[in-house]
């Protein structure tokens, strides 16, 4: 069925300006913790509404309530002025509310079309593929959003996956679309595309809710905003009358001092040297297409080398290969002057490396284990915390507490399972862990993805401090501004090749973009 | 800990029965139990106090024996695998009479009697008859597990067949379980496919599989039973190397009750008729019947001496062949 009869997949909006979704006094508690505190939220048809707030402010939780994933403890939800209660996601979906999750809800092993075809089947033997193809074409006609129906989702890049996700929602008749930090995995180009799409949807009368930590994005697309702080609404209004400083103040309570421009560093000897590195896209198919080709890199003491490039250019592969998780086909890697031949994560860390993985959820934390165990995940396994194989638990949790203060990880106790913390705090915990050993080389893959302004600022400062201490940083980011403002030098990665290395001081979005697109059809 | 004193009060003696297989296995165990019950029928001073079955592993067997020994005067351990367990338990209960069925003891024990059946003799007869009856001169033996009593059937058949016709061939298959009907059926089918036309089924409920295979076979196939005659179970059954465990146990229990059961080992052979070959009604030509007579007589007269493997090794202690 997927849609209510009246609202087909076509993009017929329902009026505009009229209130689409109104939350009044919505409260959600987790045990004693209040994640949402009497939140009032008013979304109008045809608008793009930005939902802002620092990490752990309760944005995701609120949206989960709206989409029926959580049921609120108090408060009412009105849709088109009628009170509604969503006990299940499908209720919200039927009502036309759809959410693009940060982790896509796609099935990699099915084709894009099959993913669209996932739907309640009235009769078991019904074959919904043709119908799905139909809807997809309608949507394409209405929004210009095209998918490649018969491609496996596994073969699609993140941008393409996100597009498919949106098409899916539209096919199912969503009229209120929620994006939770959509740009986190997107390249700038892909973001612009998404922004246009949002405008088009709004213009067509849909309501769009955008959760983002990047004020630039907010100001570029949003019409109105609501700011959450510690679960409660700290302010709302129209973007036109708002200033970045104002919003930041609403989010974090006070102003965040502008970041001072990166002081000129004095690069020392090379910490990491990569020569002619070739890496297969699929470890099991060395003969197959390559993810990286002829990579030459050098990261020196006291400098931050930025890697700019769109998602899927091979960043993940580069990190994994440096870590020793992925085998290299050919090429040489040197760490701290010594050849890094028998590569394995352990060797990497022993050679003075540290890493902030891109995919934190799966690669950086052990959700079931306590905060202190996660923070000391590595130091715990070497002296002094490790005394001939025996753990010094007391010292470890003391150390953890110290780091929690230093890196401002917000949690009631270090004995909490880290899985209970908000994304932002989890990430600060990871940062604390990786910087605590003060390593020679820090690989930071999208270190501020999903971080609020203050946390992001904190990460920047920590990285710079690390650089000042003479450490080297390999910064991987899809956000050009971020790279430019953060790095001493920038290597542009596109299609698995280093297209060029430029001095950050001279680099501009345009020049980098040019490098990215140059030799586009290589490989 | 000794017991049996309770017996003094009145004349009644209570019997405990422990077996490795389920009591309703439709074969060895069930017949043994029948024998015990028959003895009880005959003597109202006897009663069967309790049964422990499925005592598969040694620990369970020892526990079972111990708890039976504490409250009975006669304990029947029905199965070859009890030999060591009995050897462990019996000395602790000198007043209790242990009857060990189908197994020999490693060591001689004062209050233990092992009653065995020299199935090998029966096997010789079956081998001869089957060989005479067979068209392809290929005989088969299917058993569950490879234990002395089953291999005895095989070796006996080999010897008997050779007596009747030197170039008759005998093959053996072990299905891994006396009660696995499916495997038995497949095994029999396999044999038939390889030219066997006479199968001895040394199985319990597994025998049904053999009957079914014979029934489904395209070529005429004969089946020979052991223990008893199930002629009505299948038209293909020629006869059975009857090993009347019920008779054997009836004797043994009665003797034990009368305290006339000698310690040591008693092996029942063709002499007492506890072992005998029987044709199903209407089966067997006069010549074959004569052959049975002859072979049986030759064996009891000692004209035919069992080959190696046909009989269990003769124990060192008191031994009686009946």
């Amino acid at each position: 069925m997927t849609t209510r009869p009246d609202s087909g997949p076509a993009l017929r909006g329902t009026g505009n300006g009229a209130s689409a979704l109104r939350l009044t006094g919505v409260t959600k508690r987790f045990g004693s913790f209040v994640a949402n505190d009497a939140v009032d939220l008013d979304i109008a048809w045809g608008e793009i509404h930005a939902l802002l707030g620092e990490n752990g402010a309760g944005k995701t939780t609120l949206m989960r309530i709206v989409t029926g994933l959580y049921t609120p403890d108090e408060g009412d939800i009105e849709l088109d002025g009628e009170p509604v209660r969503f006990r299940k996601p499908e209720h919200a979906l039927r009502a036309g509310i759809g959410m693009v999750h940060q982790h896509f809800t796609l099935v990699p092993t099915l084709t894009e079309l099959e993913n669209l075809a996932i739907a309640p089947a009235a009769v078991p033997w019904r074959n919904g593929l043709t119908e799905a193809r139909h809807r997809a074409q309608e949507v394409a006609a209405a929004t210009g959003l095209r998918i490649s129906p018969d491609r496996l989702v596994a073969d699609a890049s993140v941008g393409e996956r996100q597009r498919l996700e949106i098409v899916k929602l539209l096919c199912r008749g969503a009229r209120i679309l929620i994006f939770d930090e959509p740009s986190a995995a997107l390249s700038p180009g892909e973001w612009d595309e998404l922004a246009n799409l949002m405008r088009r949807l709004a213009a067509a009368g849909h309501a769009v809710i955008l959760i983002s930590h990047k004020l630039s994005e907010v100001f570029s697309v949003a019409d109105r905003y609501t700011v959450l702080r510690r679960g409660a609404v700290s302010g709302s209004g129209t973007i036109a009358e708002a200033t970045p400083d104002h919003l930041v103040t609403l989010m974090v309570g006070d102003r965040v001092a502008d970041r001072p421009p990166l002081p000129a560093g004095t690069p020392g000897p090379a910490v990491l040297t990569v020569r002619g590195l070739d890496v297969a896209r699929d470890d099991n198919q060395p003969a197959g297409p390559k993810a990286l080709q002829g990579i030459d890199l050098e990261v020196r003491r006291g400098e931050i080398l930025g890697i700019a490039g769109v998602a899927g250019s091979g960043q993940s592969e580069l990190v994994e290969v440096l870590m020793g998780i992925r085998p290299a086909l050919s090429g040489a890697i040197e760490m701290a002057g010594r050849p890094f031949t028998r590569r394995s994560p352990r060797e990497f860390f022993q050679a003075g490396g540290a890493v902030i993985p891109e995919d934190r959820h799966h690669a950086a934390i052990v959700p079931g284990m306590t905060l202190w165990e996660n923070i000391t995940l590595r130091s715990l396994r070497s002296a002094p915390l490790n005394r001939q194989g025996v753990l010094d638990v007391r010292a470890a949790s003391a150390e953890a507490r110290r780091l929690m203060d230093e890196f401002d990880v917000r949690a009631d106790s270090e004995n909490l399972p880290i899985g209970r913390l908000s994304g932002g705090n989890q990430q600060k915990a990871v940062l604390a862990r990786e910087l605590s050993g003060n390593p020679d080389l820090l690989i930071a893959a999208q270190p501020v993805r999903g971080l609020d302004v203050r946390a992001a600022d904190f990460v920047y400062r920590s990285l710079v401090a690390h650089r000042e201490r003479g450490g080297a940083v390999l910064l991987i980011s899809m956000d050009l501004d971020e790279v430019i403002s953060m790095s001493d030098r920038i290597a542009v990665l596109a299609h698995g090749r280093i297209q060029g290395v430029v001095d950050a001081a001279k680099a501009t979005r345009a020049s980098l973009g040019a490098l990215m697109t140059s030799s586009g059809e290589a490989l | 800990g000794s017991s049996g004193d309770s017996a003094a009060a009145d004349g009644t003696k209570s019997i405990g029965f422990i077996s490795q297989a389920p009591r309703n296995d439709g074969g060895f165990t069930q017949f043994g139990l029948a024998g015990v019950n028959a003895a009880i029928e005959a003597d109202k001073n006897l009663k069967l106090s309790s049964i422990v079955d499925n005592a598969a592993n040694s620990q369970e067997q020892i526990q079972g024996l111990e708890s039976l020994a504490t409250k009975n005067q006669i304990v029947v351990a029905d199965g070859a695998s009890f030999n060591k367990a009995v050897a462990v338990v019996a000395p602790k209960y000198p007043k209790v009479r242990f009857i060990l069925v189908a197994a020999d003891l490693d060591a001689y024990a004062e209050n233990v009697t092992s009653v065995t059946a020299a199935v090998g003799y029966n096997a010789i007869v079956v081998g001869a008859v089957a060989s005479a009856h067979s068209r392809t001169k290929k005989l088969g033996m299917i058993a569950g597990l490879e234990v002395p009593s089953t291999t005895a059937w095989y070796h006996g058949m080999v010897q008997g067949a050779a007596l009747e016709n030197p170039n008759t061939k005998v093959v053996e298959t072990y299905t891994g379980d006396f009660n696995d009907v499916g495997k038995a059926k497949q095994a029999a089918e396999a044999m038939i496919a390889s030219g066997v036309d006479s199968i001895l089924s040394d199985l319990d409920s597994g025998s049904r599989g053999v009957y079914q295979a014979a029934g489904g076979a395209t070529s005429p196939t004969d089946v020979y039973d052991v223990f008893a005659l199930h002629c009505d179970s299948s038209p293909h059954i020629i006869g059975s190397g009857v090993v009347s465990w019920s008779d054997i146990l009836k004797n043994a229990v009665a003797d034990a009750a009368a305290d006339t059961l000698p310690a040591g080992a008693i092996s029942y052979g063709l002499g007492t008729g506890a072992l005998r070959f029987e044709f199903c009604p209407g089966k067997g030509t006069p010549e074959e019947k004569a052959l049975v007579e002859k072979i049986t007589k030759d064996i009891t007269d000692g004209k035919i001496v069992a080959d190696k493997g046909v009989l269990l090794p003769k124990p060192a202690y008191h031994f009686e062949q009946r």
Binding site: R326, S344 | I51, D53, K84, V147
Partner: protein, 372 residues
């Protein structure tokens, strides 16, 4: 929150125990046995006399060892059920060694048999570990199949190489007295073997290993999230292999204990006696707590011993025990519902999330780090 959790657990344990009692009583009534008689028979058969108590405790040891093995592997995120096979392997090797130790002084022989048992179990488990680590065969399946193989192998051993009984029965010869594990003289029948000391010792050892040592920490990280483990320099495959092999060692020792500490000093096929799976149940019943298993192991062994006793006294079918054991597990799992409903959702989700990376579907993990 810890203490609250503990109370919750205790409540659940008690609830399960009561429920099991009820189930048992119902079954008994169903087959027409007065529960009171049954209970009396059960009690006298398990703890009524020192002799029986000795048997009960001694038979608890193998269960405990298996349970501890299970706990270790699950903490490492691996799930294998190869304990029956490993028990058989350990027992067989211990037998092979034990039969040769007649001339050695007692202590040496005892230690040798124990070591042989551990080795045998570890080697058999090594097959599972190897198949998983380097061939990507799910350990659960390979261990299931290896169990079936081990059973047949044991069948063959007691009919071939290890066959040693006078009349050709499928049994080994009796073990030399020197190799038998010592037992308490004062108890009639000498049913209480000194290896009951393993109950507290091993339990505490495993507890400390997991909570207080680097090795245990690595195991838990690998089990908690294999991906994160690899990214922090822990090779989850190595940890998994270690866990599986160690658990095999425990099971193998259990095999040796079954043969050399029991009252039946010889090997016959089927000496494993369902300890392999019941051991898992024991761990479950204790909700994988290394200390709790000491209690639950005794409970389960009582179920076995008492089952036989009840059968001998009241002619209760032997299978009643296994029904009860199955029922107990189901009850435990159902009890888990109660706990889950109490615990907050995400707390519950996190292990599941981690499991996705490390648990049943581990082939990829296996594949990757091989080259790392």
């Amino acid at each position: 929150m810890l203490s609250k959790d503990l109370i919750m657990r205790l409540l659940v344990q008690v609830g399960v125990a009561l429920a099991a009692l009820v189930v048992g009583a119902l079954l008994l009534v169903a087959i027409g046995v007065a529960p009171s008689d049954a209970f009396h028979a059960f009690w006298s058969g398990t703890f009524g006399t020192p002799t029986n108590a000795g048997t009960t405790l001694t038979q608890a040891v193998p269960l405990l060892l298996v349970a501890l093995g299970w706990i270790l592997t699950t903490r490492a995120g691996r799930l294998h059920v190869g304990f029956p096979g490993q028990i058989l392997a350990g027992g067989s090797l211990a037998t092979a060694v034990g039969l040769q130790c007649g001339s050695l002084p007692g202590p040496v022989a005892v230690v040798l048999t124990a070591i042989a048992g551990i080795l045998g179990g570890a080697l058999w488990a090594g097959l599972t570990a190897w198949l998983w680590a380097s061939r990507g065969v799910l350990e659960i399946v390979s261990s299931l199949l290896l169990n079936l193989v081990a059973v047949q192998a044991a069948h063959w051993l007691v009919r071939g190489p290890l066959q040693g009984s006078l009349d050709g029965q499928p049994q080994s010869a009796n073990f030399p007295a020197a190799a038998l594990w010592p037992s308490v003289e004062s108890i009639p029948g000498r049913t209480l073997s000194y290896d009951v000391l393993l109950l507290p010792v091993c339990a505490i050892a495993v507890l400390l290993l997991l909570s207080r040592t680097v090795f245990g920490f690595r195991l838990r990280v690998a089990g908690g999230n294999a991906e994160a483990a690899r990214w922090s320099g822990i090779d989850p495959v190595r940890e998994g292999v270690a866990a599986i092999v160690i658990s095999g060692g425990f099971a193998g020792l259990a095999g040796a204990a079954l043969l050399f500490a029991g009252s039946a000093p010889w090997m016959s096929d089927g000496f494993e006696a369902g300890v392999g799976f019941n051991g898992i149940a024991v761990a479950l019943l204790a909700r994988n707590s290394p200390i709790g298993v000491v209690v639950t192991a005794v409970v389960f062994s009582a179920l076995n011993v008492g089952g036989t006793a009840m059968q001998a006294q009241l002619d209760v079918p032997s299978s009643l025990a296994s029904v009860l054991q199955g029922a107990v597990i189901v009850l435990v799992l159902v009890a888990a519902i109660v706990l889950q409903r109490r615990a907050s959702a995400p707390a519950a989700t996190k292990p599941a999330l981690a499991r996705r990376r490390s648990g049943v579907v581990a082939a990829r993990t296996g594949a990757r780090t091989e080259e790392a």
